[in-house]
């Protein structure tokens, strides 16, 4: 009985510590995010670092985002064709691919791909700097690591996610068009005109708001896990994995929230 009491006490303490740790993490993450945004109004702005990060994040992710969106657009057209064919509505395939890609799949796919590639990169880079005391050295040299390292990454990721999503949307529609005209024998002109005409302002607005939110999530989560790395090289590996998992889960969850919010705003 005494042993049972002891174990329950240990469990109770560890659960309390666990909860406290999680609340602390959320608080630290929120503070880091606010600080990263607040730094936009302070000098210096580290424009050169922003450009360098934009190159790494944007152009580095271009191929994989385009490929993911292209093949998803093609697969979406193929899958839709079976159902639409039953109702003799194959001609609306352009509308379906367009709405699906622009409103939902384009931003989410780009977000997940960029998260996989860059949240991990940021976490491992900053994590390595933490364990080799480079972050402490930067602070010791009178430079704010959040301003120098986090803010440029946040700005660049948001900026590049916006344009990567636009290009991804285009490639998704091209993928759908290749399937529609090449395999299903639909007229290419009809595909593009129906895909274009179905889109209204709210669809485009929704599709271009999400990458901004996702870009913010990817950069802040990647940097947060990097800057809170503990435990040497093993810790860097752990931080990298956790950053990708957290960024992906957040993107998917926030996508639902943003979609619902914008639907309310546009009265959909």
């Amino acid at each position: 009985m005494a042993a049972g009491d002891f174990l329950s006490r240990v469990e109770h303490i560890s659960l309390a510590d666990f909860a406290k740790g999680k609340v602390q993490s959320v608080q630290d993450y929120a503070l880091l995010s606010l600080q990263a945004l607040g730094n936009l109004f302070k000098r210096p702005l580290y424009v050169a670092d922003m450009v360098q990060q934009a190159d790494l994040i944007g152009f580095g992710s271009l191929r994989i985002v385009l490929a993911a969106c292209f093949f998803t657009g093609a697969a979406l057209a193929l899958n839709s064709a079976t159902t639409l064919g039953r109702f003799g509505a194959l001609t609306v395939i352009g509308q379906l691919v367009s709405i699906g890609i622009v409103r939902e799949l384009g931003p989410v796919l780009a977000g997940l791909v960029v998260a996989g590639r860059n949240a991990s990169g940021m976490a491992s880079e900053l994590g390595s700097m933490v364990v080799t005391e480079q972050i402490d050295a930067m602070r010791a040299l009178g430079t704010d690591p959040v301003k120098k390292l986090v803010t440029p990454r946040v700005v660049s990721t948001i900026f590049m996610m916006f344009f990567l999503t636009i290009l991804g949307d285009l490639l998704g529609l091209i993928g759908g068009n290749i399937v529609a005209s090449g395999l299903l024998g639909l007229d290419s002109h009809e595909y593009w005109s129906s895909a274009w005409q179905i889109l209204v302002f709210s669809d485009v607005f929704m599709g271009l708001t999400k990458p901004i939110v996702f870009g913010f999530i990817i950069a802040t989560v990647g940097c947060y896990y990097g800057l809170t790395t503990k435990g040497g090289t093993q810790g860097v590996g752990r931080a990298t994995t956790e950053a990708v998992v957290a960024a992906m889960i957040l993107i998917i969850a926030v996508d639902v929230v943003v979609t619902r919010l914008l639907m309310v705003v546009f009265g959909l």
Partner: protein
């Protein structure tokens, strides 16, 4: 060794009066494990203080506290006349411009060249002309005899060279206080002597106050018994028993407490069994 590039400015270097660092009953714990337990000491301006202790005794923690990189759980810390105990990070950035720190493994930014590493502080301050930055970088690298590495990356340097670049980075803004975290740790005896000579040179030429963490007793005793001779550009032993103006003291840490604070004579003649065993 090449001649000193900054001799003109050094000639006028005299430390201002007062204390460079003051610890008053500082306590710090990590995850319920007490690292420092009521640590108190003073580092006078122009003085060099070596901190001894076994691994995990809290030596490096003292340097990070003095730099404001960590906050104590209780007690007070003053650096260069300012109470930094509860100072905000933004205010600390200003103060840190007057303090240089050499980290255990150098902590050079591996994505930057030696030039960019050494110039980091000056570039960040902004408003300094490019030519002036270049001149000061070359002066600092010449001080540590590594001018030829200016375009290299840290990964291309040996361990000793990285420490010397770290020293150049720390001294480029001519700080009032220098913190050395095991600058000779893991280095061969010849390279260690070079690093010790650089620290002695900085101490005797610029009169910079320093806190030095080290495992190597012989390095600290060498510093206490040698002066930098500007004629020969090498350190020379002082006459036996004489101090010849060297202001060097030692503290020994044991289980988070300061068990000794005094000069090398007092340390060598300490009756404390732990200290006797430690220095034997």
């Amino acid at each position: 060794m090449p001649t000193l590039p900054l001799e003109q400015t050094a000639a006028a270097s005299q430390p201002p009066a007062g204390d460079a660092v003051v610890f008053e009953d500082v306590v710090l714990a990590f995850d319920r494990a007490t690292v420092l337990d009521g640590v108190s000491f003073r580092l006078a301006r122009g003085e060099t203080k070596a901190i001894f202790g076994v691994a995990g005794a809290g030596k490096s923690t003292i340097l990070k506290l003095a730099m404001g990189l960590l906050k104590p759980d209780s007690g007070r810390i003053h650096a260069l006349g300012e109470d930094i105990t509860h100072m905000r990070e933004q205010e600390l950035f200003e103060l840190r411009r007057k303090i240089g720190m050499v980290f255990q493994e150098g902590a050079l930014f591996d994505s930057l060249t030696v030039r960019e590493n050494v110039a980091f502080r000056l570039i960040e301050e902004g408003g300094i002309p490019e030519e002036q930055i270049e001149r000061r970088v070359r002066e600092a690298l010449s001080f540590v005899e590594l001018e030829h590495t200016i375009d290299m990356f840290p990964s291309e340097l040996s361990g000793g060279m990285r420490r010397r670049v770290a020293i150049a980075r720390a001294i480029i803004a001519q700080p009032e206080l220098l913190l050395y975290d095991s600058p000779t740790g893991g280095l061969d005896p010849v390279t260690s002597t070079t690093i010790v000579e650089l620290i002695v040179k900085q101490r005797d030429v610029y009169k910079t106050s320093s806190l030095l963490v080290t495992h190597r007793l012989q390095d600290a005793f060498t510093m206490a018994s040698h002066r930098f001779d500007r004629k020969t550009n090498h350190m020379q032993p002082v006459a036996s028993g004489g101090r010849n103006g060297i202001r060097m003291t030692f503290i020994v840490l044991r289980e988070g407490k300061v068990i000794f604070d005094g000069d090398e004579y007092e340390l060598a003649h300490s009756k404390d069994e732990y200290i006797r065993e430690y220095i034997s």
